[in-house]
Amino acid sequence: MLHIPAYYEYCCRVNVVAGHEALEKIPQILERVHASKPMIVTDRGVAGAGLVDLVTRIIGDKVDIGGIEDDVPPDSSLDAVRRIAEAYRNNACDALIAVGGGSVLDTAKGANIMVSEETDDLMAFSGAGALTHRLKPLIAIPTTAGTGSETTLVAVIKDHERHQKMPFVSYFLLPDAAILDPRMTLTLPPAITAATAMDALTHAMEAYTCLAKNPLSDASAVTAIELIAKHLMPVMKQPENRDGRLALAMAATLAGMAFSNAMVGMVHNIGHAVGAVCGVPHGTCMAILLPYGLEYNLHRNGDLTAELLLPLEGADVYARTPSEKRAGRVITRVRELNQSLYDITHGGHARCLKEVRNRDGNAAVPKDQLPDIIKAAKCDPAIFLNPEDLDDEDYLMVLEHAWDGTPLDRSRIKTG
């Protein structure tokens, strides 16, 4: 169904190159953006998996690589951004190639701001609309499927001192090219495959059901959901499935296009806070919180959620489900998906906040930290386009249920 607002904007100027040998196009793309000495930005995990070596082997003697910076932490950091910007300048680079997940892509975007604006004060450019001209060329090669950061106008950089995730929003942050090659995700561990796909699903679903939706973001979202619904479990069962990996990569990019143009809502709002306070990976937060966001907003946008049953479960389920039950079925299906992912990863994919473990195996989200999460969520702007408001009581209710893994008591949701 077409939902056309009184006014909307849509833009995705990224050149998307996708395929089983997409990496081989890198030299050509660099030539097109008039760059010859790129800096590669990545993290130790990606480098350790041999993915950077794969890229450098392929582009080999065709490209003069200006340097490889692999010290990007999870959730990025201001320090990493500054370090990379300095290395870029010292090595006289003229482009950035980001090989990695969301943190790497966001860090590269942050570094791009610094080298293009010739500044040491990244925070001066935080928020929306602070950039006013084109940045240096940036090629994004995602190694997860994923954050969609390769096609978004957003970068989120963590300020570790203030425990806050700082957003940067501008069309100038869009990479010049996104290269989707299934070789980049073939060895992605199961739990990360699961979490990042659920991240993409969340992007698509929030973009479709929140307030800034438009026909093009809707089309991006629906296509993404179709692809994830069709390919996620087959890839979980058969990780070497290249066609499936490529499909999930495309889905993540499409979901990125959707939310880049329609923004997100409370799932991201709370998820950012959980990530900032407790260090939980973004995809894990999204997977856990998605059904709660959909459930909480039901009285406002249940009709929109209901429409997602078709791409999520197909025509037969859609037809068999009475229209007034479709939204509920979507939420149930998301929970079932989380359960299936939990089962196939032998508990590696958390279904609720209390199941999330940190690197030491301890509970990552102690229940007594929920008030801190609420405090952080109230400072996060992702709530602006959520169809319903949340006060402290609402946040606590959602978090308590998400912690426990129990559905919301909808009678406690304050409407309006």
């Binding site: 995705c12 008039h34 026909p215 093009l216 089309a219």
Partner: protein, 393 residues
């Protein structure tokens, strides 16, 4: 959805749709580094007084706006020279084009000339790359469009260039400038959009990125056509819906979107007997029917796009493709009636003789990479006779 083994997709167009969309032009041009745009309008835009809201958008800005109205396309080269001279003389740095069809081709040519210093299209058609960053080009189309305005195609006489870099960077769809064309004109525009959307969505070169624009164009076009055909109440925003559909259909086409139907329509139009729009409108259901024989094309999805999710879901799976074709043919039949036969149901309706079909097929076959001439002729015969395409085609 059919996933290709390799794809490349780029759409540099930033879409602004809706109320007061034009008011964003100065900001967007500034963001692209422009300060002195040249506003160029075709004869229709000048006649229909579509420039006033564009001029008002610049009233309280510090930008210097040059205006040239009433540009003819009867002598494209002459118009190109005139506009180039004005642009250079006034030291402009961006183009705002208000108009449609071949006029937008002219503005793309102008932009290419001014950006590269090369007026001749021959060097580009012989392999010279079109550079990435042409000067900013904003297009304000109306509801009387040929569907190629936002595409990456530049067509001047017999020369066609294709590049994503030829696509405008900015699109503005504002109810104040969609115009108020008559119903037949809006039907034609919406059919152009539908053809571009459907062909891009269901052809062999389809990919999920193009599908975003193709899906939306198809839904918008169908909604507009149903209103024009008298199915349901007419929306006061019909004209902008038609313009919206055509623009997004052009985005879907991009620079890799010409398919069998376009080549056939071009060959038919070369006979002088019908326009490309008339040809495409007849051929669309037959091409879709032919594609329905190839299961990976998922032609049944057209029923979802055009008829809605509920209709799609309620229709038994094995009947969906047929229901999709039936929906389209029924719509064309209704449009035949309301346009007094200008939109034909068959190739016979639009004036072609059966004897002309082999030559048309051969001409199209020289450009088409999807079908051989013999298959093209078979499609044409079915479309001439009004007989459904079957497995023998």
């Amino acid at each position: 959805m059919h996933l290709p083994n390799f794809m490349e997709f780029e759409c540099p167009v930033k879409t602004h749709y809706g109320d007061w969309a034009l008011n964003h032009i100065p900001f967007e041009l500034k963001a692209l580094g422009a300060a002195k745009p040249l506003l160029i309008a075709d004869e229709a835009a000048s006649l229909e007084k579509r420039l006033k809201p564009v001029l008002e958008a610049f009233r309280d800005t510090d930008m210097t706006l040059g205006v040239v109205e009433d540009i003819p396309t009867s002598d494209m080269q002459n118009s190109l020279h005139q506009l180039s001279a004005i642009y250079r003389d006034k030291d402009c740095d961006a183009i705002i084009a208000v108009g449609q069809g071949s006029f937008i081709d002219l503005t793309k040519w102008l932009n290419l000339t001014l950006s590269t210093g090369e007026e001749s299209l021959a060097s580009f058609s012989e392999g010279r790359l079109i550079p990435r960053a042409l000067k900013p080009l904003a297009v304000i189309p109306s509801a009387a469009a040929d569907g190629f305005e936002l595409s990456g195609y530049l067509r001047i006489q017999e020369t066609t260039l294709a590049s994503a870099h030829l696509m405008p960077q900015l699109l503005f769809l504002d109810p104040r400038t969609s115009g108020r064309p008559d119903d037949t004109t809006m039907v034609e525009t919406a059919l152009n959009a539908l053809t571009n959307g459907v062909e891009t969505f269901f052809c062999a070169a389809a990919n999920p990125m193009k599908a975003v624009y193709a899906r939306t164009a198809t839904m918008l076009a169908t909604e507009a056509l149903c209103q024009l055909a008298g199915r349901g109440a007419r929306d006061e925003r019909l004209a902008i819906t038609v313009a919206h559909a055509a623009a997004l259909g052009g985005c879907a086409l991009g620079c890799q979107g010409l398919s069998t139907i376009h080549h056939l329509a071009h060959a038919i139009a070369s006979t002088g007997k019908a326009t490309p729009t008339q040809a495409q409108s007849v051929l669309l259901s037959y091409m879709l029917e032919r594609r329905s024989l190839e299961t990976e094309m998922n032609v049944d999805l057209f029923l979802s796009l055009a008829g809605g999710n509920d209709r799609f879901a309620r229709t038994p799976e094995h009947q969906r493709s047929a229901a999709a074709i039936y929906f389209l043919r029924n719509l064309i039949n209704q449009l035949f009636a309301i346009t007094d036969g200008k939109i034909g149901r068959t190739l016979q309706d639009i004036g072609l003789t059966r004897e002309e079909l082999p030559a048309i097929a051969e001409a199209a076959g020289r450009r088409d990479t999807e079908c051989e001439a013999s298959s093209l002729e078979a499609i044409l015969v079915h479309a001439w006779e009004g007989r459904p395409v079957d497995g023998t085609t």
